[in-house]
Symmetry: C2
Subunit: 366 residues, 2 copies
């Protein structure tokens, strides 16, 4: 990976954040057995995984709190330029971000809580809130979860007056008879299936806004297809829960799952294992992401280290099982391909078609 | 209640927010059975209660996502004025806000996830993050929960650069053999025990900052005791989980619990029941809250409708059981008093010592 960090230039310094994250994880780890007298314990093998796994008796629950990031600011800016309210997309993606993390450990979402923090009550004027609520509820339906409750504070002086900080918490359950997917069963020889994204999903919003500032028409800049830059950036993301549910129900030998968000395809080596992930085929790059990478001046190495570049979710399955994943995905209207395999070797990601390699030091989440 | 809303003057308009909250609750209610095929369903009787109750088989879980509000801005401003880092208090209170809500339905916290959203990575300079993490972990210990994980995004352009938006999600379990406390067993004749707060807790931070702006020394203004205004405002709140755990374990006939936060003592009529809550004795007002109410120019009616005024938590128990609650509280180092009782009559709160009455229309959370 290049030493230049284009994402830091857009205001996101992952090096500092990852260090703080590790400090918090260490403090959290010391508390894992606190609720033992209440019959529960956190599975420490889930530390650093996309969801916290809590064992309660024979059952395993997953617990996630996830933020949308700054995508709501794209909705704000797009509304200002075009008059079109796309807060439904922000609501949808808030749920998508959390439930896609939840299902990575093999847990199916049960209930989602909403966090809608505005900077001023004036935010609630117009259609925004109804639109946000619609998108949030629709996503709960699409992932099979209930919307439980949540919190909608006004944080004057903390959140910008015309902004909304969106997050969601989710509790999921691992189906009976299935062990949580925490990387332990990943093995050399496993096939890696990449399931397509439809665009930005929940990561890269800061970069979109930075690029929009440099374009003459900003978010109204047309892409080659004629769609507007902001319109495409506000496409709702894909929810992968239905696919995971089906793979588990069909008994497909799933060994690991990774939701490709921040850190782009570096997330392919998320598991705490010394293994090499070799990708021989890459999915098609969504128009929006190609445009974004080009206008941001990202090299291919930078782009794939930052954005999903068309790969929204990775399924690691036993050798020979990849085709079943592709079939299940296609049955759900998704696009997927057997993209590569897991090999013995140092922890790294190799993107063969592009001659790119990311080393273990490029992804330090623990 | 007065028509003047001093809180709105400090930037928090509860009327607009409560309306939006009701819209979200209605949308959420339609999704309660979504996860039925996964063996879970949201108990609709928990809609509008402090925690969402999810039934999974024979077990009942509670789920909360709660925000600290703007108390972190007091920590920021206090550090700027005195050089003293009290982000530990912000961390502690983030957990306290969530777990005190959780235990209201009779659920004991199992796992807490953290939401630390900064406006710039520069926030992480100095001791703040370590301090925040310490306070968060300490509160998890004090309530017997594990710290699971969470999210720590940098939200450039959304959160102010030197600010941090803090929230926590918690999953709790209702002990076996106990029904969730959702108001159904509240009855005329029940005794109301008020358990003392130690000051601001997690509500009133905007008002503190508004008042500080008008004081010559701001947060460094001394109170009568010699403590500084900001120092007292940053006292960590009380966690009531241990008390609830003990009441349930001892078989005390607890009928309802209310965490007194936003809306002050109007929260005494939180339950969705047509009952009158008559308070005959009030707890001592913490020095900080007396000072705050006075400097903000609040009438008693306004102050008790806005702040906890010394009553942090209310326990509604069968007639004759109040003394057991007081004894249990005192055994845990808390202060409590049998303050009044539940009566037949219209939904309202009567604070007899002050001649104040809040009508049902003053608290519309559903």
């Amino acid at each position: 990976m290049s030493t230049r960090d284009p994402y830091a230039e857009a205001g996101v310094d992952y090096t500092t954040l990852d260090a703080a994250k590790r400090r918090a994880v260490a403090a959290a780890r010391a508390t894992s057995s606190n609720p033992a007298t209440r019959g529960a314990v956190v599975d420490d093998a889930s530390r650093g995984e996309p969801a916290t796994v809590v064992r309660v008796g024979d059952a395993s629950y997953a617990f996630v709190l996830e933020c949308l990031g700054t995508k709501s600011l794209i909705a704000r800016d797009f509304e200002a330029v075009t008059g079109v309210d796309r807060y439904d997309s922000a609501g949808y993606d808030t749920v998508a971000a959390a439930v896609n993390d939840c299902c990575c450990v093999g847990a199916l979402p049960l209930v989602v809580n909403a966090y809608f923090a505005t900077g001023a009550a004036s935010w609630y004027a117009g259609t925004r809130h109804a639109s946000l609520v619609d998108g949030f509820a629709r996503a709960c339906g699409d992932c099979g979860a209930a919307w439980g409750g949540g919190e909608s504070p006004t944080l004057s002086g903390l959140v910008v007056p015309d902004g909304i900080d969106l997050a969601a918490a989710v509790v999921g359950v691992v189906p009976a008879g299935i062990e949580p997917l925490l990387g332990g069963t990943l093995a050399a020889g496993d096939e890696i299936v990449l399931v397509s994204s439809c665009g930005l999903h929940q990561n890269g919003a800061s970069l979109v806004r930075a690029v929009a500032c440099r374009l003459e028409l900003g978010l109204a800049e047309p892409l080659a297809s004629g769609r507007l830059f902001g319109e495409a950036a506000l496409d709702s993301g894909v929810i992968y829960v239905g696919l995971v549910e089906q793979l588990l129900a069909r008994g497909v030998a799933v060994h690991y799952l990774s939701h490709i968000t921040g850190h782009g395809l570096r997330k392919l080596m998320r598991a705490d294992r010394e293994l090499t992930y070799r990708i021989e085929r890459l999915p098609e790059v969504p128009e929006l992401l190609g445009f974004l990478a080009e206008k941001a001046g990202l090299s291919a190495s930078e782009a794939y280290a930052t954005l999903n570049m068309g790969a929204g979710f990775a399924c690691y399955v036993a050798a020979g099982s990849g085709a079943q994943v592709v079939e299940a995905a296609e049955g759900l209207g998704l696009t997927a391909l057997v993209a590569g395999s897991v090999e013995p070797g140092p922890r790294r990601v190799v993107l063969e078609p592009l001659g790119i390699e990311y080393a273990a030091r490029d992804l330090q989440l623990r």
